[in-house]
């Protein structure tokens, strides 16, 4: 007897295809087609390189929010100058090329590659290295001029590295910035010099007093466990951080605590970092950045990495009395999925705080919806919220403080009980606290759709403004370092678990694809 064959049935795919875009091969950095798919309310980017095969990474932990945030996408502003031409297409023409959709909210100048730490996690691949570079006064001036030529009046320049505080001319560089139409300087540092050199901290404090200018500190601060320090920084820096913050408070400097967050390392410390920041007089904001898997980092699973919604969920879980879903709002100046921000009004004593997230006081979405809302209750409030929900917003700058006051006008209350609420809120500036969650792209997650609207740019000594995530992911960082140091630099590949057997270490601790003969021939 023969059994009748089972009828063949068509089967549905297990994912929703939502975008066709471009990315790069994380191994050879060649631009490749990519697709964005949704599975189980999570968003994944998948791509295939003809030489190196298929790659897939989690890019957003909440598909519903990924889709609904599209209406908070602000029309870009055209910069005053573009530095390159469109030739090979995104992401090979950086930058900025005339196809770029947004001006630079924030310009970054990396003053050196050297650092007084050798952190296991460093997207810049910096450390105690003798073959790197340090920029000169002339180079710094040219970089600042390029930024001003593109922006006119620029809001913020960030000095970074390497470790910028060990550059012997860093104070001169800040002076060069302050001599130009650049309102604010932010110094991105591990805090060792701030902790150990009070004169230096005082010099920063003096520059923070300059009329119409500010100098703020962006302090690397990953948590409180010894393990967190050892695994992320290679050294227990807890007393340094404490002393750096105390010195900043004494010098009148405003500090943002910046935590690199990695799965299985310090994801349990987010609430504690916020609370510590609220309690410390120098700290006015916290920035959480899921570890950027560019440069040097610990092995990771691209399908189980942290994204903005994951970080926000952890914050909500760790301080449920303070935060709920909906308290963070996506930033419209870049692509809304790149960055989310909330502002808090904080009162009371340590241990007994009243915390009021500003998005609970006013319907931010009614003001920052660029697709469906053309009529606005008040254009002034939109402008204030745009400046607050921006990559150029930093606590300690006059613009951010002023816009916090202006946003109070959205509290459209009447004076019925003799309390003018907007007026009362305007006096609350020292109680305002900011939290930023920013997921930078890496060679696995890069989506040119987001890159084309990036508003955080690396300024190069030859006067280009390269989107931060392109700089780290596409190979620009390696090119610039090789040019400036005169030492060849290997193309860095992410230290991802699926690639483990195809990588070798570079001299700086990052990974590079080991080139087999066949690959070398076919990809050349």
């Amino acid at each position: 007897m023969t059994q009748a064959p089972a009828p063949r049935r068509k089967v549905d795919r297990d994912e929703v295809f939502v975008e066709f875009t471009k990315s790069i091969c994380p191994m050879c950095k060649t631009p490749v087609d990519a697709q964005v798919n949704i599975r189980e309310n999570k968003v994944y980017l998948r791509k295939r390189c003809r030489y190196h095969g298929e790659f897939e990474a989690l890019v957003y932990g909440d598909a519903e929010e990924y889709l609904s945030s599209t209406r908070f996408n602000k029309p870009g502003t055209i910069p005053l100058a573009f530095q390159t031409e469109v030739k090979d297409g995104c992401p090979l023409d950086c930058g900025l090329c005339p196809e770029h959709k947004q001006h630079a909210c924030l310009g970054i100048i990396e003053v050196n590659t050297g650092c007084n730490l050798d952190c296991p996690i460093c997207f810049a691949d910096s450390g105690h290295q003798s073959d790197g570079y340090s920029i000169t006064h002339e180079q710094c001036a040219r970089m600042l001029d390029a930024f001003v030529a593109s922006e006119g009046e620029a809001e913020v320049v960030m000095f970074s590295g390497g470790e910028p505080t060990i550059h012997k001319h860093i104070l001169d560089f800040i002076d060069l910035a302050q001599a130009r139409p650049i309102r604010n300087v932010t110094l991105n540092t591990n805090g060792i010099r701030l902790a150990t050199d009070k004169n230096f901290t005082a010099e920063l404090g003096t520059r923070n007093q300059a009329v119409g200018k500010s100098v703020n500190v962006y302090l690397q601060f990953d948590g409180f466990d010894e393990r967190t320090h050892l695994e992320i920084r290679g050294r227990d820096l807890r007393t340094f951080k404490q002393r750096a913050l105390d010195n900043c408070a004494e010098a009148g400097l405003t500090v943002t605590l910046v935590a690199a967050v990695e799965r299985g390392l310090n994801e349990h410390e987010l609430g504690a970092i916020i609370e510590y920041g609220i309690d410390h007089p120098a700290v006015r904001s916290v920035a959480f950045q899921p570890v950027t898997h560019s440069g040097r980092h610990v092995p990771f699973d691209p399908l189980n990495r942290l994204t903005n919604p994951d970080v926000i969920r952890l914050i909500n879980e760790q301080r449920p009395d303070w935060f709920r879903k909906g308290d963070f709002f996506p930033v419209p100046c870049c692509f809304p999925t790149c960055r989310s921000i909330t502002y808090l009004l904080v009162d009371g004593e340590p241990g007994n705080r009243t915390v009021v997230p500003v998005p609970r006081l006013l319907n931010v979405e009614d003001h920052l919806d660029y697709v469906t809302n053309r009529v606005l209750p008040d254009a002034g409030i939109r402008e204030a919220l745009e400046k607050l929900w921006s990559a150029s917003a930093f606590m300690g700058t006059a613009t951010t403080e002023e816009k916090l006051r202006a946003a109070a006008d959205a509290l459209d209350c009447t004076d019925g009980c003799g309390i003018d609420l907007p007026q009362a809120v305007k006096n609350l500036n020292d109680k305002a606290f900011m939290i930023v969650v920013q997921d930078f792209q890496d060679p696995y997650t890069l989506n040119v759709k987001q890159l084309m609207k990036c508003c955080v740019e690396e300024i190069t000594p030859d006067g280009r403004l390269i989107p931060f995530c392109a700089y780290n992911s596409v190979g620009y960082r390696e090119q610039v370092r090789a040019e400036l140091s005169g030492v060849p630099v290997a193309t860095v590949a992410p230290n991802a678990l699926p690639l483990a057997d195809r990588l070798t270490a570079t001299p700086y601790g990052s990974k590079t694809a080991h080139t087999t003969r066949e690959e070398g021939e076919s990809s050349s």
């Binding site: 009004l345 469906t372 809302n373």
Partner: protein
Amino acid sequence: MTRPPSGEELKVCCAAAYSSDVVALLLGASYHPGGTALTRRLADGLALTPGARVLDVASGRGTTALLLADAYGSDVDGVDYAPANTALAQGAAQAAGLTDRARFTTGDAEHLPHRDGVFDAVVCECALCTFPDKARAAAEFARVLKPGGRLGITDVTADTDRLPPELSGLGARIACIADARPLRQYTQILAAAGLSTLRTERHDDAMLRMIDQIEARLNLLRITAAARLTEAGVDLTAAPAVLAAARTAVADGVLGYALLIAERNPRLA
């Protein structure tokens, strides 16, 4: 057991809340749960064609009316009980360049200053719950609608018999839920006025969001002006329990927010 308040007491409570502007103070005069996203959802249910004549009852500062005029090309009349709101809404229409399509007047929802059968649609957001004579207001909606014209409502729903005692004090006063009705009672009130409900939707998340907002503003007042708040009769020590009770009531389905689309019975005289 707490004696349930009488109808008259409720009216007084609700009116007092509005006249003393505690609600406006806490949430803003133009506040309604769900924001413009819910307004759009409501408008989509009204089958508006460009140039359709729409009446916005309790138009506040004009947010809903201007959205309808701009995004839907409607010709909108707004009516609000507070002259101050009328002025603000007129100013907003001017700023938006929509004065040719959006007019605002001061008037009473229970005695609308409009002729019979002139509107293609009537909208009323977060206000029916506050009208003392709901049947009268519904009859007015029906009167000014053309036969077949649509009514769109978003409003607080409350199963008043099951509301916890905490919500008959401060909570009722600030959120004005004391005279809100269960969704089915709204449809009955409308039906009695000749308005057949076509569709209802629950949007209880919007209510939760409103509770969050009330809590946030109470906290803000505590930070900025605790003494004045006490003078205004808002008991801050009771607030956490009231807000918790309100959240529980939403979770239990006793308190919520709903969207409702109804149609004027074509044969209504």
